[in-house]
């Protein structure tokens, strides 16, 4: 079999540096080198490229090379269908559609039936998304895409997943877009569906917490000081974030409230038993749920926060962290609508969504995963929301000062409630 022409190391270096899926932008690159070719096929070669940084560390990326040597050629039918076949899915002659802008991976749609995803940054160990989809499917949770096929490599250097094929979800759209679009004509769109979103979320957590015999998923009792450690970490975050805030009128309303927020952390951390820790979605917000053509929610993207390390993404946590991600995203949707299009959410809209979502969740939740009392539940959820708020304030303060009002309003509201 003739080997396809392969890019030189210099070409690889330039290619990876410019790729949007390259996660370490800003870090000085020293070299790139192909260290393994887990797939060598007449139609497509998959190469694992080791990228070395000048600091002496390295990362691995997966690169696809078509027969003529073209790199990043997933949109070509012969490349995509061949990879699908290697993952166990026959899609011979399928129409291939690119899925546009993606941060960390590259995906294409095959005949509007299957979604094929090529994982870019490779780390040794189980791919969290595939692990999660398998677990959810195995527990009969149907509000997530069905995993149809996987292409894995046994290593060395890495034992990991390269390509996945999932069933296409037929959806009206993403939760974020549908919510924001509805503000102008039907603002009750999300409030009417938030209870169901809570139920689906509870079902997801129930499935993730059901696998007692699977070490990667078995629920765990958190250590007795885990909540105190978490509170201490938020406390330090508040102190660091408020110390580094730029001088800005917009921040004035909250700038002198750091001590009040730190007191609030203490108050909220008095939860008592927090419930079992389980595998969670990890990056849960309105952008990670679709409203399907069958009029139900479908949860997507189980990779966790891309900036976190693999073991961190696989760490078991309180499921309430996912809830806080979603409730904060309701506030963002309302405030973004106002900031971007001048369309205001009706009064009480965020609260209505939050309440329906939380009540829907509690109606179906696995109680082992929650603090035993409702008061404990409310405090723990608020603590996770406060963690998100502090992160938001730091992020917006640095990157989009105009948006800093979103976390500021959230913080002030939370302080008011506590007073």
């Amino acid at each position: 079999m003739p080997s396809p022409p392969v890019p030189t190391n210099e070409e690889l270096l330039a290619l990876i540096q410019g790729a949007r899926w390259f996660g370490a932008k800003g870090k000085a690159l020293e070299s790139a080198e192909i260290v393994d070719r887990p797939v060598e096929d007449p139609a497509v070669t998959l190469a694992i490229v080791e990228v070395r940084f000048s600091t002496g560390t390295h990362e691995h990326y997966l690169v696809d090379i078509a027969a003529d040597g073209t790199v990043d050629a997933l949109e070509r039918p012969e490349v995509a269908t061949r990879l699908a076949a290697l993952a166990g899915i026959d899609s011979e002659g399928a129409n291939v559609r690119s899925l546009g802008v993606e941060q960390s991976n590259t995906s294409v749609m095959l005949d509007e039936l299957h979604m094929l995803k090529l994982y870019r940054r490779l780390e040794a160990g189980p791919n969290p998304e595939i692990e999660m989809l398998r677990a959810l499917g195995g527990e009969g949770f149907t509000n997530a895409p069905r995993l149809e096929g996987v292409l894995e490599t046994p290593g060395p250097p890495l034992e990991t997943s390269l390509v996945s094929v999932t069933e296409r979800v037929s959806a009206e759209g993403g939760g974020w877009e549908l919510t924001v679009d509805a503000f102008s004509d039907d603002p009750s769109w999300l409030p009417e569906r938030a209870w169901r979103l809570g139920e689906v979320t509870a079902g997801m957590h129930g499935a993730l917490g059901a696998r007692e015999d699977d070490a990667a998923f078995a629920p765990e009792e958190p250590s007795s000081e885990s909540l105190a450690l978490f509170a201490a970490a938020i406390d330090e975050e508040i102190s660091a974030t408020f110390g580094g805030l730029p001088e800005d009128d917009a921040l004035g309303a909250v700038a002198h409230r750091a001590e009040d927020l730190r007191d609030l952390v203490h108050e909220l951390a008095a939860v008592g038993p927090a419930g079992l820790a389980i595998r969670t979605h990890g990056d849960y917000h309105l952008g990670q749920v679709l409203w399907s053509t069958d009029a139900d929610w479908v949860v997507i993207d189980f990779e966790g926060e891309p900036a976190r390390s693999l073991p961190e993404r696989r760490r078991k946590r309180s499921p309430l962290r996912d809830l806080a991600g979603m409730t904060r995203s309701f506030s963002y949707a309302a405030d973004a609508s106002l900031l971007l299009w001048g369309v205001e959410a009706p009064p009480g809209w965020v609260e209505a969504c939050r309440e329906a979502f939380v009540e829907g969740y509690l109606a179906c939740a696995d109680e082992r995963l929650l603090p035993p009392s409702r008061a404990g539940f409310d405090r723990l959820l608020a603590l996770f929301e406060l963690e998100k708020l502090v992160y938001e304030l730091r992020y917006e303060g640095r990157n989009r000062p105009d948006w800093a009002s979103i976390p500021i309003v959230g913080m002030l509201r939370m302080l008011e409630r506590a007073a």
Binding site: E33, V35, T57, G125, P156, E225, A231, E236, S309, P311
Partner: protein
């Protein structure tokens, strides 16, 4: 393949051969940390439950004291089986699960390993003592007379009269540099070295990241010498290093050689022996400097410390599981230390003082912070001792070094939250005195208070780790106009850090000649405040009692 292959759980780490140079180590007893089985003794499952705490504190590497089966007549350093875990700590599988869980949190684990001797209950010794025809007859050092190696000193002067003890079974004397129940292995016999290396491999294969090699200067004996630091001992350690490097990536060998720096540097070889070695003599001199309120004792020992190979690092500590050793000071200095830090004779042990950090410093918060600041500023890797991060005390009424090995104080609840066993079942009683007892000093309470020692130390560890210059940079003592002020400069690539510490219990002023940094702006590192730019004239700094400043010297003044 350009990066080494990994197996098991180590793949969470990037290949980073000098990881040990920029990290913070934390020494603990499995026995003393957390009891998950309610039997009164800490165990590996319990330790695993406390990993979140160590991760939060910023620990990069956990150093485990010996956890092997042992009759426990020397805190587990009397090993009865090198290839197993003492049953009260759990199983080998639970050990491996703990290591894996630590790795998932980006923490490494090293363990004590005793190469020099075994317990007299070790099957090797039981075989060896059967007589000269036993297959392991020469695995230990036997003699018909006590008149061999007479130039070797006795180390445990409080409990041992001779380095030879008569064994009635074999009818001969066996050699021991430490307790008489710890016979020295005979490295003249190559089978012994092979067996020890096999034991090291056993643990490395389970994912362990290295060893703290206990009592390494004494492996070989030779007539007419002190039988310490002999060339053949170094040869053997180089062989260990070569075998480890050939099969395992990113592991570390940390030598315990309680010797003067000019002898200890030999344990680094040419970068082909141990990766790390403890710098013993600097530690008593830090305490001496603090008591005398003068920098000289520290400066002297640091200035006489020879350079070490690039791929090596000193290990530095304030206190550890042993007594504060005074072997590496003069007799006069030792008398001074005893008078100042051990006013109760029960506090003395062998040539040292068996006390923890906080009681040594009378619980003074300023002193504890200053000593940590000096420790963290010196060239080397700081090693914290469990419990010192919350200012735990000691119990001088317990025997040997048990007084500094009491249960970790997690909460103010029963048994300090260490165990749910009956009090009488605990391996040692937790501290209950009104000043240092668990009701006054515990993790739970200190986590809640942002101004606690624990929270301060967590921030301080994070600060040190933000600046690789502390682990990688050069060290240079600065002349000061005030002998009570200890000042030095660390630099690495573009990064220049000035560390100035006031050892006095009164406010002080100092003038520093910083003319070679003229034009640079010192920015204080804990709060980010810029100080006046350095000019051609001496730079004036003033301090409160036991105060210190760390500055980064910026070429261009950053924004306030």
């Amino acid at each position: 393949m350009s990066s080494p292959e990994r197996s098991g759980s180590e793949h969470w780490f990037e290949s980073q051969p000098d990881w040990f140079k920029t990290g913070v180590f934390y020494e603990l007893h499995t026995r003393a940390f957390f009891d998950s089985s309610d039997d009164g003794t800490g165990d590996f499952r319990g330790l695993r439950q406390k990993l979140d705490y160590l991760e939060w504190l910023g620990v990069d590497c956990i150093w485990l004291l010996p956890f092997y089966p042992s009759p426990l007549r020397d805190g587990g350093y009397d090993v009865a089986d090198f290839l197993s875990v003492a049953p009260e700590f759990g199983t080998v599988d639970e050990f491996a699960a703990f290591v894996e869980a630590a790795h998932e949190r980006r923490m490494r684990v090293i363990s004590d390993f005793v190469m020099n001797h075994t317990s007299n209950e070790h099957p090797w010794f039981q075989e060896s003592r059967q007589g000269p025809d036993s297959p392991k007859a020469d695995w230990y050092v036997w003699s018909d007379t006590t008149h061999r190696y007479e130039d070797a000193r006795i180390i445990f002067v409080d409990s041992e009269q001779s380095n030879w003890t008569f064994d009635p079974v074999r009818g001969a004397y066996f050699w021991h540099r430490f307790y008489h129940h710890q016979p020295d292995l005979n490295y003249e016999n190559p089978e012994v070295g092979d067996a020890i290396i096999d034991a090291l491999r056993f643990w490395l294969d389970l994912g362990l990241d290295g060893f703290r090699l206990d009592a390494v200067p004494y492996l070989f004996e030779e007539e007419g010498t002190s039988s310490e630091n002999l060339p053949r001992t170094h040869e053997f350690l180089k062989r260990v290093r070569a075998e480890v490097d050939a099969s395992y990536a990113d592991r570390v060998l940390l030598a315990e050689a309680n010797q003067w720096p000019e002898d200890v540097v030999d344990y680094f070889g040419d970068g082909d022996e141990c990766h790390m070695a403890f710098h013993f003599p600097v530690m008593p001199r830090m305490f001496m400097a603090l008591r005398r309120e003068e920098a000289r004792p520290m400066v002297e020992i640091l200035d006489r410390t020879p350079p070490i190979p690039d791929n090596c690092q000193w290990g530095l500590f304030l206190r550890n599981h042993d007594e504060l050793t005074l072997e590496m000071v003069t007799d006069e200095e030792r008398d001074y230390m005893y008078a100042e830090y051990a006013n109760d004779p029960r506090m003395k042990l062998n040539l040292g003082i068996r006390r923890r950090l906080a009681p040594l410093l009378d619980g003074g918060r300023d002193e504890i912070e200053l000593m940590h600041a000096i420790l963290f500023s010196l060239p080397g890797t700081p090693v914290l001792y469990y419990g010192d991060e919350i200012g735990m005390g000691d119990n001088v009424y317990l025997g040997d070094r048990d007084g500094v090995r009491t249960p970790m104080q997690w909460t103010g609840d029963r048994n300090g939250g260490f165990s749910r066993a009956d009090f009488a079942q605990l391996y040692l009683p937790p501290l209950m005195d009104p000043v240092f007892g668990f009701q006054a000093v515990n993790v739970e309470a200190q986590l809640r208070s942002p101004t606690s020692l624990l929270r301060w130390l967590q921030r301080f560890v994070a600060l040190r780790k933000q600046h690789p210059v502390f682990g990688l940079g050069t060290y240079e003592t600065l002349e000061t106009s005030n002998s009570r002020v200890f000042a030095h400069v660390r630099s690495h690539e573009q990064d220049i850090v000035l560390c100035v510490h006031n050892l006095a219990r009164s406010a002080q002023a100092v003038e520093l000649d910083l003319s070679r940094y003229e034009g640079r702006t010192p920015v204080e590192m804990t709060g980010g405040t810029p100080f006046p730019a350095i000019g051609a004239l001496p730079y004036l700094l003033t301090f409160g009692p036991r105060g210190f400043f760390w500055f980064r010297l910026f070429e261009d003044a950053p924004d306030a």
